[in-house]
Amino acid sequence: MSDPSPPPPSTSATKAVAGTSNTGLRASAPLRVLDGFGGSMRAASLYLKPRSLEEVEAAFEAARDDGLTVAFRGSGRSYGDAAIHEGGVVLDMTGLDRMLSWDPVSGIAECQPGLTIEGLWRRTITDGYWPAVVPGTMRPTLGGCLATNVHGKNNFKVGPIGDHVLDFDLLTTQGKTLRCSREENADVFHAAIGGLGLLGAFTRIRLKLRKVETGWLRVKALATANLADTFAQFEANLGKADYLVGWVDATAGGRALGRGQLHVANYVRADEDPDPETSFHVERQTLPNHVLGVPKSVLWRFMKPFMTNAGVRLVNGAKMLSSRLSNGTTYLQSHVAFAFLLDYVPNWRLAYGASGFLQYQVFLPKESAQATLREILELSQKRGMPSYLAVLKRHRPDAFLLTHALDGWSLAMDFKVPPGRAAALEEMTREMTELVLAAGGRFYFAKDGVLRAEDALRYLGADTVKTFLELKSRLDPDALLSSNLGRRIFATEPGSRLLPTRRPPSAVPTLVSFPPRAPAAGEVDDATPEPVIPAPAKVPGEVSAVASTLFARSADDAAKNRD
């Protein structure tokens, strides 16, 4: 109003007065140990939560001044190391969570990157729109969804989320904002979607949602007897399904190998709606508060004792029995109840115990998918490390540079990291990776923790990697943006500029390892749903000399500031 000059950021009345002594990020930013959602990979980093674009730019500058690199983090739902950054700065983007516009006529929403899928659908469902692509949980941010180019159970029909983005603004580390669409800066558009946050920060995302006639899906459950049957029934339903997903009992061997259950879902038309008055009410789109009589907040504790090979075999057996009994039944489900199965059990990841789990998704061309998946399932059983949850989906190719999709199938697998035997799991996935690469398959970085640079190079191709890195050196010439995943995937590419030059070469992790979990970490996690482990016994890696002094300071602060 009458205020002639905008006040400097530090005088903002609503903000914490941090770093007033102005001695750089190393002194002012707290050190936090953040983990991937699988709980098997973690890293200590300086943590900042910008609340405005100006603060994002300021963070770039501050990091540059201090010789640090920067990674972005949304809700921390990537399973592996996409949003962790050892020894660098992590920018938590969840503070930028505003919806900038919503047009209920065209179904076009414009959002900041920190808005979650949940924040989006809660507003749009009342006007009869549902996000065209959603992952299995509603917690991720749109920025994270774009950076990993997530897909849903309808990938075969509508492509990944990137196919529904109209345009976005990308803030580069040089302080420039690029408007990117299929027409404008098309190369950046197709590389930054799925670009793992290595090219710049999404600051404004405009995407088109899907008009739905009702708040319901009609779901049909089908039991399958073995892998061939799973594939055959899947294929038979593909043409008529809006969504199609298969659960595979990865513990079943022999003739039952690959048995499971399919869920075929279709949008319910307006004239079939049992309750049209309330169809679009947010209250209709809910998840159950209890599962089998157990309150969902403590459900993971009941799951924990079953997270062994024998326990999962027992549970899967019961599930197969019930699925055979209910074979062919159809029922109505809300969009939320069908789409967000992973949100039924809050903190379900904790059921895997202290060493966490590895999520690993393989994509296989349709011709050889069945044969390769058979080998992979058999291998996991032979090694005594079957996947405790395996999900089969169908995909189609898309135009994004680092895409994981192809004309074929994928199987997403959760492997419990066997305490003390992480190397055995790593060895097994290496064999699986070899099978997938030999078959011409692909991988998905949000669900990965084990691919090596040479593996990524093999399936992406040298030209693709070169294109991506050239774009990176153009947009981010001093390689300010990095992450554990970025270093893992691109580090050994000759001439790579992703490798942060400021970092001592010895500190670059070449192979993934599963650092031991801090003893008290599980307990802390129980109390707070945030994927933050505040007090590790030891800061891993070469940064520990710097980090441990930082950490001492921040732990000291933490003890003193409880209000």
Partner: protein
């Protein structure tokens, strides 16, 4: 309801503003900087069921001469005033404050003196219309002189007493004062500080604040567990307070 929010662009204020906009209340944002106000106003407009536009005005708690013009602009734009919500404040750790006396001066000025001045401007406007709601965020830090929040807590103790007196003095005239005393809440203000047990989420706190405001309560501890924690702290004898670090 016609609501003005100071500090409605971030943290708990942002969550409260969203709840109000989503249920169809008219909102007006005061704060700084303008870019933040614009983005939050767009957010509230998009969330409003009827796409009702949210107005903004620059208002800096460090500059008392911005208060009256900003409230005038809000009242004019809304065509009245039913509630004023203040979530803005400064926060700094005791270490930072002890190391920097100028920072201490700023913090106690903003959190006490200037907040009182802002509330006086707001109170007069509300009473001129026959009453209304004044919702102000204090803190559990103001309940007792405590080592880790010695200075910040004293500024909040002052505002708590002021609000209590406003309720005593003007309740009969129709002013409804709600003093909100949050415990630890995970917001940008506390980013990087390790959350203690019973830490709250901004959305949960915001729902409780709106419910308390609607119900006409005078004091709200949130999350609720902090009422119990502070009950114990208030009765601890001095020799114990000298010994413990809480």
């Amino acid at each position: 309801m016609k609501v003005v929010l100071l500090g409605g662009t971030s943290g708990m204020g942002r969550s409260i503003a969203r709840i109000l906009a989503e249920r169809g209340d008219s909102t007006f944002l005061l704060g700084i900087p303008q870019t933040d106000l614009d983005a939050s106003a767009a957010d509230l407009t998009a969330r409003s069921p009827k796409h009702e536009a949210t107005g903004t005005a620059l208002c800096d708690l460090e500059k008392p001469d911005t208060f009256a013009p900003a409230l005038d602009a809000a009242e004019a734009a809304l065509g009245g005033l039913d509630a004023v919500i203040v979530t803005a404040a400064l926060f700094a750790t005791q270490d930072q404050l002890e190391a920097d006396i100028e920072l201490t001066r700023r913090l106690v000025t903003v959190n006490y003196a200037n907040t009182v001045v802002f509330c006086e401007h707001a109170r007069k406007r509300l009473l001129a219309k026959g009453g209304g709601k004044l919702v102000v965020f204090s803190s559990v830090a103001g309940e007792r002189g405590r080592k880790p929040v010695a200075i910040y807590g004293s500024s909040k103790a002052g505002i708590t007493r002021y609000l209590e007196a406003m309720d005593h003095k003007f309740h009969a005239e129709g002013l409804r004062v709600l003093t909100v005393k949050p415990g630890f809440v995970k917001t940008g203000m506390t980013a990087g500080v390790k959350p203690p047990p019973f830490a709250g989420e901004p959305d949960q706190v915001a729902r409780e604040v709106v419910a308390a405001m609607d119900a006409g309560k005078t004091v709200l501890y949130t999350p609720g567990m902090w009422a119990l924690v502070m009950l114990v702290i208030r009765w601890l004898p001095r020799f114990v307070m000298r010994k413990i670090g809480f």
